[in-house]
C-alpha cells in the first residue's frame, strides 16, 4: 500500500515539476533603464545584425548599454575601445584594467558561471568568448538574453577585426585605436626586419614539474608573438598547442633566452638557476631569464601589442634604445 502511495506521490511530484515546461518564459529583453535616461536621438538607431563565432545571427536594436563580459580578453577589449562604462558585469578572472575589478563578478572558475547573477544584472548583451562552452551560450539564449560569441583571433590582424565587432555592438568607433595599434606593430616589424640573428627562446608557462614544463606550441599567440618579435620559439616545432616539453629537449635546443610566463605564480630567475639539470642552458649561464606578464600573450585582446613590444625589447635590446 505504502509503496503505491509513494509511487503516486513521485509521479505527481514530477508531473507538477514538469508543468512549467509548457509555460513560455518571457523572452523579450527588458529595455535597459540606462538607455531610457539617455537623450532621445532624433533618428531611430539602426538595428545591428552580426554573425557570431558560432554562426548565430545576433541582432541588437541599438548599441548595447549593459554588457556582461565572460572572458578577461573581452573585458580588456571593451575597456580599450571606450565601452568600459557600459560594462555591468565580468567573469571571475577579468582583472584588467583596474576598474574592471570593481564590477560585479558572475563566476567562471572551473567553467561554472552563475546564470542567476547574469540575469539579475539585466544585460542587453552578454559577450562570450571561446573559453565559454556553446552549452552556456544556449543556456543564456534560452533565458532571453542576447549573446555574442566572440571567436579567438588567429593573428594580430584578426584581433583588430574583433575590436571592430565589439565597437559595432557597443556603438564605438575603433578606427583611431586600430590605426595606433597598427602603427605600433609596424614599428616593431620594421625594426625586426633588420635582424639577422633570431635567438632561440624558451617560454615557460608552468614548470611545476621542472623536468617537463609547459610551453607554447604552434598556432598559439605565444609562438606567434615570439616569432614576430624576432625570436625562435623552441616549442614551435612541437605538435600540441600547449605541450609539455622535456628538459632534455630544452637542453638540446639550448635557448639563449628564457621567458618566465609563470612569474605571476612565483617563478623567479634565481629559482630557475637552482633547478637541477638547467645549469648548462645558455640563457641560465648568461642570466637571460626574464619574468613576464603572461596575460599579454594569453589574452587575445589589444594588449597583445604590448606583449609584442616587450618581447621584441627583450630579444633585441640594441634596437630599442
Amino acid at each position: 500500500m505504502l509503496r503505491k502511495i509513494f509511487i503516486l506521490t513521485l509521479f505527481a511530484a514530477l508531473l507538477v515539476g514538469c508543468a512549467p515546461a509548457s509555460i513560455s518564459t518571457p523572452t523579450t529583453v527588458p529595455v535597459s533603464t540606462v538607455a531610457s535616461t539617455i537623450e532621445v536621438p532624433t533618428v531611430a538607431p539602426t538595428p545591428i545584425t552580426l554573425t557570431d563565432g558560432l554562426g548565430r545571427q545576433v541582432k541588437l536594436d541599438a548599441p548595447a548599454q549593459r554588457v556582461v563580459s565572460l572572458a578577461p580578453s573581452n573585458t580588456e577589449i571593451l575597456f580599450a575601445i571606450g565601452a568600459g562604462g557600459q560594462v555591468v558585469g565580468r567573469d571571475e578572472f577579468s582583472d584588467f584594467p583596474e576598474q574592471a575589478k570593481g564590477l560585479a563578478s558572475v563566476g567562471g572558475s572551473m567553467g561554472q558561471y552563475s546564470t542567476e547573477s547574469i540575469v539579475a544584472l539585466k544585460p542587453d548583451l552578454v559577450l562570450a568568448a571561446e573559453i565559454n562552452t556553446p552549452e552556456l551560450v544556449k543556456q543564456l539564449e534560452d533565458l532571453g538574453l542576447k549573446v555574442y560569441y566572440l571567436k579567438n583571433p588567429k593573428t594580430i590582424e584578426e584581433m583588430y577585426g574583433n575590436l571592430e565587432i565589439v565597437g559595432q555592438l557597443t556603438g564605438h568607433d575603433v578606427t583611431d585605436l586600430v590605426s595606433s595599434l597598427k602603427a605600433r606593430v609596424a614599428a616593431v616589424d620594421e625594426k625586426i626586419a633588420t635582424v639577422t640573428e633570431k635567438p632561440a627562446v624558451f617560454y615557460e608557462i608552468d614548470a611545476t614539474d621542472a623536468s617537463k614544463p609547459y610551453t607554447y606550441g604552434p598556432n598559439t599567440f605565444g609562438d606567434l608573438l615570439i616569432t614576430r618579435a624576432g625570436g625562435t620559439n623552441i616549442g614551435g616545432s612541437l605538435k600540441d598547442p600547449y605541450p609539455q616539453i622535456s628538459l632534455e629537449q630544452i637542453v638540446t635546443s639550448n635557448p639563449s633566452i628564457i621567458i618566465l610566463g609563470d612569474s605571476l605564480y612565483g617563478a623567479t630567475p634565481d629559482a630557475v638557476k637552482a633547478r637541477a639539470g638547467w645549469a648548462s642552458i645558455e640563457a641560465v649561464k648568461n642570466g637571460n631569464i626574464f619574468p613576464f606578464d603572461d596575460n599579454l600573450v594569453s589574452r587575445p585582446g589589444p594588449r597583445l601589442v604590448d606583449g609584442l613590444e616587450q618581447l621584441a625589447k627583450l630579444f633585441h635590446p640594441e634596437l630599442f634604445k
Binding site: G17, P26, G55, S114, V119
Partner: protein, 331 residues
C-alpha cells in the same frame, strides 16, 4: 517504523526542495519568491525562479534519485558494501564518451548541443555491455568476474580519457568541469530527455526489492528459493545502468552520493530492500539537493562542481552516522 521512515524522508525532501528554490547566488526574499511563484514577480525574479532554479532543482533531484537508487541496487546485487552505481563502468564510459564528443567542434544546433550528453549516454551503456559480456561464463555471470572486469575496463577507459584530455588542452577545463559533476546543459530539455529512462530504471528497481532480498542469501540459495538468478541480475544491471547513464549524461559524474546514501538508509531504517530502494531514491534527491545548495552559496557568485561537495560534505556526515550507529554489524 515503516510509516515513520517514509514520512521522515519525504519531509526532508520537501525541505530540501524548498531550500533549493529559495537559495541561490542572487538573493530573493520570501516575498519576492512568493510573488514570482504566483506570477506577480518582476521579470528578473520570475526568470531566475522558473527558468534557472526550478529546472536545476528538478535535474539535481532526479540525478540524486538515479544515483542513490542504483547505488542501493548495486550493493544488493553484488552483496558488496563498496559497490556504487559506477562500479562496472558507467562513469568511466560516460566520461570517455563525453571527452570524445568534446574533441569535435559541433555546429550550434539542437543536435550539436546534444552531442556530448548523447555520446556520454551511449558510451556508458556500451561499457556496461562490454563488461557484462566479458564477465559472463556460459550462462552465469559470477559477481566476482563482473566486479573485476568492471574495475579493469574502467581503469582502461579512465586512462584513455586522461590521455585525450592532455592532447586537447583547450578543452581540459570543460572536460574537468564535466567529470567533477557539472551540468553540461540546463533547462527543461535535459529533464525531458532523462525522465523516461529514470522512470523505467527506477521503476524496475522499486519493484525488485523482494528479488534483492533473496539475492542476499547467495546465488545458489536464491536459485533454490525460486529466483531465476541470472535473469534477475541482468534486469537489475540494465535498470540501474540505464538510470545512472541517463543522469550522468546531463549532470556529469557525481561521486559518493550513490555510495553513502544507501548506507545511511540501511543504518537508519534497516536492510529490507523493499524499503531500502525507495528510501534511497527519495533521500538521494535530498542529499544531492543539499550538496548543490552548498555548491551554489559557498563561494557565490562563483559555483563549484557539485561532485566536489558531495564527497567533501558527505564523507564527514557519513562517518558521523557510522560512529553513532548502535547496530554494529549492520551490513
Amino acid at each position: 517504523m515503516k510509516f515513520r521512515s517514509y514520512l521522515f524522508s519525504l519531509l526532508a525532501l520537501v525541505l530540501a526542495l524548498t531550500l533549493s528554490l529559495a537559495i541561490g547566488s542572487v538573493f530573493l526574499s520570501p516575498l519576492e519568491l512568493w510573488a514570482a511563484l504566483t506570477g506577480h514577480g518582476t521579470q528578473t525574479s520570475a526568470a531566475i525562479l522558473w527558468s534557472i532554479r526550478l529546472p536545476r532543482t528538478a535535474l539535481i533531484a532526479l540525478t540524486g534519485m538515479a544515483l542513490s537508487g542504483s547505488g542501493a541496487a548495486y550493493q544488493g546485487l553484488f552483496r558488496n558494501p563498496l559497490a556504487d552505481p559506477f562500479l562496472i563502468g558507467v562513469a568511466s564510459g560516460a566520461g570517455l564518451g563525453a571527452v570524445i564528443a568534446m574533441s569535435v567542434k559541433w555546429p550550434y544546433t539542437f543536435w550539436g548541443l546534444m552531442a556530448i550528453p548523447m555520446s556520454a549516454f551511449v558510451a556508458a551503456l556500451l561499457t556496461v555491455l562490454i563488461v557484462y559480456s566479458l564477465a559472463r561464463v556460459g550462462k552465469t555471470v559470477p559477481t566476482t568476474n563482473l566486479i573485476l572486469a568492471g574495475v579493469a575496463f574502467s581503469s582502461f577507459a579512465t586512462s584513455l580519457t586522461s590521455f585525450l584530455m592532455l592532447r586537447s588542452t583547450g578543452e581540459v577545463r570543460r572536460a574537468l568541469g564535466w567529470l567533477l559533476g557539472g551540468a553540461s546543459q540546463s533547462g527543461w530539455t535535459a529533464i525531458l530527455a532523462i525522465a523516461p529512462y529514470l522512470f523505467i530504471g527506477l521503476g524496475i528497481l522499486i519493484f525488485s526489492g523482494h528479488a534483492m532480498n533473496l539475492l542476499q542469501f547467495g546465488d545458489d540459495q536464491a536459485q533454490q528459493l525460486g529466483l531465476n538468478v541470472t535473469r534477475a541480475k541482468t534486469i537489475l544491471l540494465i535498470a540501474s545502468s540505464l538510470a545512472t547513464a541517463a543522469a550522468v549524461a546531463f549532470s556529469g559524474i557525481i561521486g559518493f552520493v550513490g555510495l553513502i546514501v544507501p548506507h545511511i538508509m540501511r543504518l537508519w531504517w534497516g536492510a529490507d530492500y523493499r524499503r531500502l530502494i525507495p528510501l534511497s531514491i527519495i533521500s538521494g534527491a535530498t542529499a544531492l539537493l543539499i550538496s548543490d545548495i552548498i555548491a551554489r552559496v559557498v563561494l557565490a557568485p562563483q559555483e563549484i562542481p557539485v561532485g566536489i561537495v558531495t564527497a567533501l560534505a558527505g564523507a564527514p556526515f557519513f562517518l558521523w552516522v557510522l560512529r553513532r550507529a548502535k547496530n554494529q554489524g549492520y551490513w
